[in-house]
Structures are given as C-alpha cells and as structure tokens.
C-alpha cells in the first residue's frame, strides 16, 4: 500500500498531516452521504405507522432521557475508538477491542467480588487498574506476535474476541453463576454498590462520571501524541517504519507498546460500562463496541479529537438503532449503517487520490520529493 516511503520522521508526519487536512471536508461529505443512505434504508424497513424522524429525535437529542442514553452509549465508543486509534498510530489494527473490553471488565469484577468490603474510594481505583491490566494482558500475545514475528494482528486480535466471549460464558455459567436470576444465566450478581460510579445532572439528563473519564483519556492521548517522545516514536513508526528505524527508534518496541496501550484503554472501557450502567458482569457489556470503535477511529482518521466527535456521532446511530428495534429493525442494523459509512468514507479517501477520478495523473520521477497529497 505504501509506495513512496518518506525518508525522515518529520517528512513522514508532515505528509500524513497534510493528507488528513485536505480530506477533512471530503470526509465530512462522505459521512453525510453514508448517513443519508442509511436513513433511506431505515425508512424502507420500518413497520407502518412509525415516524422515523420523530423516533430519531426522541431517542437522541430531543429529550433529556435521549441525551442521557446518547452520552452513556458514547462513553465506551469513544474509548474503543481511542484504543483503535492508538494502534493505528503505530500502523496496526486492533480489532480485538471487544475481547479486551470483556476481559478488562472481568478483571475488575474479580477484584470487586474478592474484596467486597473494601470502601469504594479504594475499590474503584483498584478495579480501574485491574481493567487496564486485564485489557493489556489480553492484547499481550497479539502484540508480541506482531512486533517480533510479524504475525498479522488483524487475525490474532479478532480470534481472541471469540476466546473472550467463551471466557465470559464460562464465568457467568460457572464460578460466578448468579442464583438471583433463576435459570437465565446472562449476568453475574451485581457488583458492590460502593463501586457504582456517580453521575451528575445537566438539564434533566444524568451524565456519568465515566463520560468525563473518557474525555479525559482523549485529552491525555492527545497530549501524549503531541508532546511526548513515546507519542512521537509511535507516530513516526506508524507513518513510516523506515523513517523510524533511520531515526534510531526501536520500531518493534514502539509497535509492541502501542498495542499494549490500545488493549489497556479497551479494558478500561469494560470496567467503566460495568461500574456506571450495567452493574454486573455480562456479555452484553459490549454491544459490538469494538467493531463500531474501529469505525470511530477510521472516520476520525487517527485524530484523537476526531475520535471524540465520531464517537458521539456513532453513539447517535446506536441510540437510534436500539430505539428502532421495537419498530421492526434488528440489532444488526447499526453495523449495516456503519458499514455503509465506512464504504463512503474510504471511497472519499481513495477517489481523488488514485482512483478513477485521477486515472491519468502523472507519476513523479523517482528521486523527487514525495508530493504532499501522496499518501505515505
């Protein structure tokens, strides 16, 4: 995919940045087209008598409850988007966010169940730390295999999702089987009430502290990638591994570390969902969060601020999706819609670059400076 590798770290970053800025408006237009397509599809699928726009308005921005729902859906999506975006910075795909999220929540639950009498002030940070470690641990093998053996992280991270689903099933049907919910073992008993994360009310809508934590993570990552050596190394490695090596960076370690950080953020998403809304350990802690998170990161084109925006946008889509479930669409419809968005966005990124619109573009001579609009 890369044709002209930039030879210096600064050039590599500059090229990536320019390409990003040029395509911003195009990308926004593509997202709009994708949303319209989705809307057109939805309007053909509804049971008669449902007012699509009314439902969309009421379930999202139109009511305090809608806003509350929207923000609570956005929290894990923003974190999942961050996780994917961090891996992207190093040129990697973490599609195992779902699994890391579940294992992160599992670790947090384990801490909560084994130390239930601890006061919340101690237990909550412990659980958060456990979830970071859990998600990181779940990403360890793919990270090692990718960085040191070049095993495709796409396949390994995804495979571990299925392992994590089974792992969750094992714990909620085995050691943590709940006796409260008769024979339907879909979740464990609740975690101690002292660990429920508080929320504050804005105009009638309860906004969880977890949302603030997610925004904090976005800000922290923005700082890391803008101002730290770690961030710089990772970014250069992702933009052009050759440039990274030339600058003397240990690029394997950079990829390894980015993958671990990515897993840790995904794990954090798990414990936050559990502690703020779900209040027990269950497979439903993820509602395709990892998959939609991939789209969040792709639409944001690797920008951390962008993740915040696209996370909020796709949370709207999820809120609408679940509101329309009563009106005749399935839970899969959200993935269908984000898939359409993704196709539109990737066409928008490709067509003006080297797609049919630019078929006859002249090829620069091999020793020329790479032109700014050329992708790395």
């Amino acid at each position: 995919m890369s044709s002209t590798a930039a030879r210096s770290p600064a050039a590599a970053l500059r090229i990536a940045e320019l390409a990003g800025n040029r395509q911003l408006w195009l990308r926004i237009a593509a997202i709009a087209v994708g949303l319209l397509l989705g809307l057109a599809y939805l309007s053909t699928q509804l049971t008669p008598g449902t007012d699509l726009f009314q439902t969309i308005w009421v379930s999202t921005l139109g009511t305090p409850l809608g806003i509350q729902q929207w923000i609570s859906l956005a929290t894990p999506l923003i974190l999942a988007g961050c996780a994917v975006a961090v891996a992207r910075r190093a040129g990697l795909w973490n599609i195992g966010v779902d699994g890391q999220l579940l294992v992160g929540a599992w670790a947090a639950t384990g801490v909560a169940f084994s130390l239930p009498s601890l006061p919340g002030v101690l237990l909550v940070p412990l659980m958060l730390l456990a979830s970071l470690a859990g998600g990181m641990g779940w990403a360890l093998v793919p990270a090692l295999a990718q960085a040191y053996l070049r095993v495709s992280e796409v396949v390994t991270t995804l495979m571990l999702n299925f392992v994590a689903y089974s792992w969750t099933t094992y714990w909620i049907t085995g050691p943590w089987k709940s006796t409260e919910y008769a024979n339907v073992a879909l979740q464990t008993k609740p975690i101690p009430e002292s660990t429920f994360l508080p929320s504050f009310t804005v105009g009638g809508a309860a906004i969880g502290v977890s949302f603030l934590i997610a925004v904090g993570v976005v800000a922290a990552l923005w700082l890391v990638f803008r101002h730290t050596h770690f961030g710089f190394r990772t970014h250069v490695t992702g933009a052009s591994e050759e440039a990274g090596r030339y600058a003397g960076f240990d690029t394997r370690r950079a990829r390894f570390a980015a993958m671990l950080l990515s897993g840790a953020i995904a794990g954090l998403a798990g414990s936050l969902v559990e502690m703020s809304t779900a209040h027990s350990y269950a497979p439903s802690l993820t509602d395709n969060t990892g998959y939609v998170g991939i789209v969040v990161a792709i639409l944001a084109a690797g920008s951390m601020g962008g993740v915040l925006a696209t996370g909020l946008l796709l949370a709207l889509l999820q809120a609408v999706g679940s509101a329309l479930r009563i009106a005749g669409v399935t839970s899969g419809v959200v993935l269908l819609l984000v898939g359409l968005l993704l196709i539109c966005a990737s066409l928008a990124a490709a067509l003006p670059r080297d797609g049919i619109l630019r078929r006859r573009r002249r090829v620069p001579p091999p020793d020329a400076e790479p032109s700014p609009e050329a992708p790395r």
Partner: protein
C-alpha cells in the same frame, strides 16, 4: 472416548470443516489476483442467510445452496471488488465495511426465519463398501453431496492455478500486476472476476453452514469461521490442495466443544469452544517462527494488497 463417539466426531468434523475450505478457497483466489478480502465473514453470513431464506421460501434446499453462491458473488462483487479494484479504496477498510454490512444485512434478512425449518436434507452420497469401513467410513464415504462438491472444487482450482496457462496468468497478477498487464493479461477485469468468484465460494461456505451443517439460521452463525478461513490461507501458504486437510483439522477443533459436553469430559464446554480460535493463533505464530528460522515455503503473492493503476510503475 468410545469408538462410536470418535467415529461421529470425525464425521461431523467434515461438515464443520468443508465450509471453511470453500471460504478459504474463495479468499485464496482473491489473494492470487492481489486483492485481500478480509470481509470473508460478512460474505459467508450473507450467503448463509440468503441460502436459508431462499431454501425455505422455494421449498428446495438445493435452490438455496445455489442462491447462497449467487448472493456471495453479488455481495463481494458490489461491496469488495468494485471499491477496491476500480476505486482503489483501502483493502483493509473495505474489508471491514463488507464484514459489518454482511453482519447487519444477514441479520435483517434472516430475522423472521430464526425458527424456520429446512424443506429437506441434502442428499447423501454413499460409496458402497467403503462406507462400511470402521472409523473413517462415515466421515469420508457417507456425506451430503456439498462435501464432495467442495473437495472437487478445491481440486479443480488447484488444477486451474498450477497446471493451466490461465492459472499462471492469474497468479502473475498477484505477483506483479504491472508485468502481467504488459504481457497482455486484463488485470482489472480479472481482479473483478476473481474477487467475485471468490465471493461466490465464500457464499457457498456460508450456505453450507446454514443448509447442511447447522441446518437453521441464527444471527452471526458463522462465528469467526471467515476469520479462521483467512488464517487458513496463510497456514497453507496459498496452496489450494493443502486447504483440504487444514480445513478438516479445524473442523475437528470446531466440534470438540460439543463432543466434550456430550461426553462429560469434565472440561466446561465454553473452555473447549476456545480451541479453534486459540489454535488459529498458535498456528500463525508457529508458521511465522518457522519462516523466520528456516526461511519459508513460498509465501504470500508478492503484490498482495497493492494498488494497480494502469500506467503507473
């Protein structure tokens, strides 16, 4: 484990493994013309859902099976081949998109069919005498015909790729599209064609799952099979014939959970269910380690994932 159980496991492993062989073969064809289609899972789901729906509605399971191929081909052609080959969109991103759209579309299509039953079972081919062999008789000589069709298609593609001029030209596209183009191979047309044909094979894999192996429709029933197929192609180093035993091997792992549960091995079935996924990872790591240490067998097509623009390079 008793003899009968082992015999039964070998037989059902075939039904679980052959869909992977179909799908992996489709991916292999795609990759041989330089296009990596990571949306296999989505294409399989569409094939599975459409096949099942058509089978129930038309009253013929065979018609459903044919429809699953058509659906897979159409889906991969529209959502993978066109954006990747003509618009040169990112192969990975388009693959994700096809995967998501496949999950969503199949869920929407199959939603009202979750409790439907198939009109009839696929006919079995029974090889006289051989099917009475102990242990392997049932597994290899008394199976529904899509199993044998799968084996035949794999062998046919192997012949096409390795023994014909057409196949050599086809592989040339994946190795060096510029040279193939210079030699007069219609690169873009063949890429479109073989990604679509590959999609039809993935569709058949999905169709076999819903029509022969599991015999009902449920959401996301492929359960990672498409991704295992993707790994399988790497595992067999892009050689079609090896797909057969590779797929059978994964078939055994896929049925392990059920066998363990029915036999009361004492290992909880969710833990056994992890086996195929963990093994996929182990296999990829083992292959990479070996390649690193000894240099490997012929590996990926050299131009896999690259963009071919006529007149450039």
């Amino acid at each position: 484990m008793s003899f009968d159980v082992f015999e039964g496991m070998l037989a059902s492993a075939m039904l679980a493994g052959i869909p992977l062989a179909y799908a992996a073969l489709g991916e292999l064809l795609s990759e041989r013309v330089g296009v990596i289609n990571i949306g296999i899972e989505g294409v399989m789901l569409v094939g599975a859902a459409v096949g099942f729906v058509i089978a129930v509605d038309s009253g013929s399971t065979v018609t459903g099976f044919v429809a699953s191929a058509a659906a897979g081909g159409l889906f991969a052609g529209l959502f993978v081949a066109l954006p990747i080959v003509l618009a040169r969109a990112s192969q990975i991103v388009i693959g994700f998109a096809a995967w998501f759209i496949g999950i969503g579309l199949s869920a929407e299509l199959g939603a009202s069919y979750t409790s439907s039953a198939l009109p009839q079972r696929m006919a079995e081919i029974q090889v006289p005498l051989l099917r009475d062999l102990p242990l392997v008789g049932k597994a290899f000589f008394e199976q529904p015909w899509p199993v044998y069709l799968g084996v035949a298609v794999v062998l046919a593609v192997a012949f096409l790729l390795n023994r014909t001029r057409h196949g050599m030209n086809l592989r040339a596209i994946g190795e060096d599209p510029g040279s193939a183009h210079a030699a007069g191979v219609p690169v873009v047309r063949w890429q479109l064609l073989y990604v679509t044909v590959g999609g039809a094979l993935m569709g058949l894999g999905g169709g076999m799952l819903s029509l022969v192996t599991i015999r009902h429709w449920q959401d996301q029933m492929v359960a990672g099979g498409g991704w295992i197929a993707l790994a399988l192609v790497i595992f067999v180093a892009w050689r079609p014939v090896s797909l057969l035993w590779g797929a059978y091997f994964f078939g055994i792992l896929l049925v392990l959970g059920d066998v363990g549960q029915s036999q009361g091995w004492g290992i909880p079935s969710p833990i056994l269910d992890m086996a195929p996924y963990l093994l996929t990872i182990a296999v990829l790591i083992a292959r990479a380690t070996r390649t690193r240490r000894f240099g490997g067998p012929p590996t990926a097509p050299a131009a896999l994932g690259s963009v071919f623009v006529r007149g450039q390079r």
